[in-house]
Amino acid sequence: MSIQNTPPKTGGFIPRDYDWQPKALTPPYKTSIKRSPQSALLSFPTTLSEETSPVFGQNLTGELDNDLIHNYAATGQNAIGPRIIVHGRVLDENGRGVPGALLEFWQANAGGRYRHKNEGYLASLDPNFGGCGRTITADDGSYEFRTIQPGPYPWPNGMNDWRPAHIHFSIFGHGFAQRLITQMYFEGDPHIKLCPIVGILKTQEAIDALTAPLDMNRTVPMDSRAYKFDIVLRGRRQTYFENRKEGM
């Protein structure tokens, strides 16, 4: 068999770029001060422990898991707020779609209030909005869910800090090394440039990578606007030459 006709073998995961990712200690985001490790991280190539990951099949998710407008609402009711569709693809650093990725998302309601016992903001709860959902990417890495646009809200950090409207994402890829939690922001939100949590990002390019544009091509006329949010997970090295024992 000629090696020229065989795709390169899959190696370990490409190391995480810590020049690009935020630092652990970011004093303007005050809580990071006592929750950030101070010793250097111990760097190692990935092993089977990080190159494998739990498998979540389509049978995990229920019919309304990707519909936050209805998944907590009473029968015949809707969550209150601007109706939006969030869609995009989960890709790896090599640009390939990641199929079967589990996405979990959570957010405040349209007034900026979370459904949580520790939440102290005076904005009202919406009885028809829970604030969480999940979905699994299709064969090409694409995903979609429906929700209401969350509101900005104040939080105790500086005297007058407000979070931009955002949706939290938790993502499982194919290897535990890819495990990632991040946040999606909305194009045009003036709070983005004021927020100390956005401010931990090192470059405008990094902020842009988390800011979803309005996508008129995916809006549903007279129903919902759409925002597009692609997510990139770590990729694996491709190599003819990596020296690995069989089956590893």
């Binding site: 370990g12 770029d17 990712q21 935020p22 630092k23 652990a24 970011t26 985001y29 809580t31 990071s32 006592k34 929750r35 950030s36 490790p37 101070q38 010793s39 991280l41 111990l42 760097s43 190692f44 990935t46 092993t47 089977l48 422990s49 990080e50 494998t52 990951s53 739990p54 229920g62 309304l64 907590y72 650093e93 090599n94 640009g95 979990e104 998302f105 959570w106 459904r115 949580h116 016992k117 829970g130 969480c132 959902g133 939290h168 938790s170 194919h174 290897g175 535990f176 495990r179 990632l180 939690i181 991040t182 946040q183 949590i197 931990i200 990578a209 990139v232 770590r234 024992k245 590893m248």
Partner: protein, 205 residues
Amino acid sequence: MVQKLNTYLRESPSQTAGPYVHIGCTPNFTGIEIYGSDLGATMKTGPVNGEEITIKGTVFDGMGTPLRDAMIEIWQPDAAGLFPSANETRGAPDPNFTGFGRSAGDMDTGEFTFETVKPGAVPFPDGRMQAPHITAWIVARGINIGLHTRIYFEDESEANSVDPILTRLEHQRRIQTLLARKETDGNYRFDIHLQGANETVFFDI
């Protein structure tokens, strides 16, 4: 000038899980009952092979205060060292073991609990055996990027002494931070210190 490496994408930047991570990841724990159960709440779906163990622990900040808003995930092979994963090519893993656990910690104390099995050994890429270990991942408000660490076992001293990663630690005293302590048979404690003299070893892996 050279060709651009522009065919590669950059990993999405991490952002903190925030104070309400439990709404999204363990909604039943917060009283939002949309899914049947919280993901990772049960690691054993039937009779399992190997030694069944309980691991408890607490995540502490740099002041020694327990975190009560963290989420801890673990991922491990079964008792034979096989992962319940699509990427496992070395054999058939225990069908009643998921390998994945997720804990929000106790509402009042922050203590997390995992009911699992003692993992089997897994090889390093060069073929040497690693000591039995569990991969752990910690997120919370104030943690900007999820922290990877490993839970090794105090009572595996022979395997630990030749483990390819543990033997490479510059400050050998810090190995103590990676060892689950045996409290009684089948019961282990693994506390995590984000900062300070006993700071846990975290991994860039």
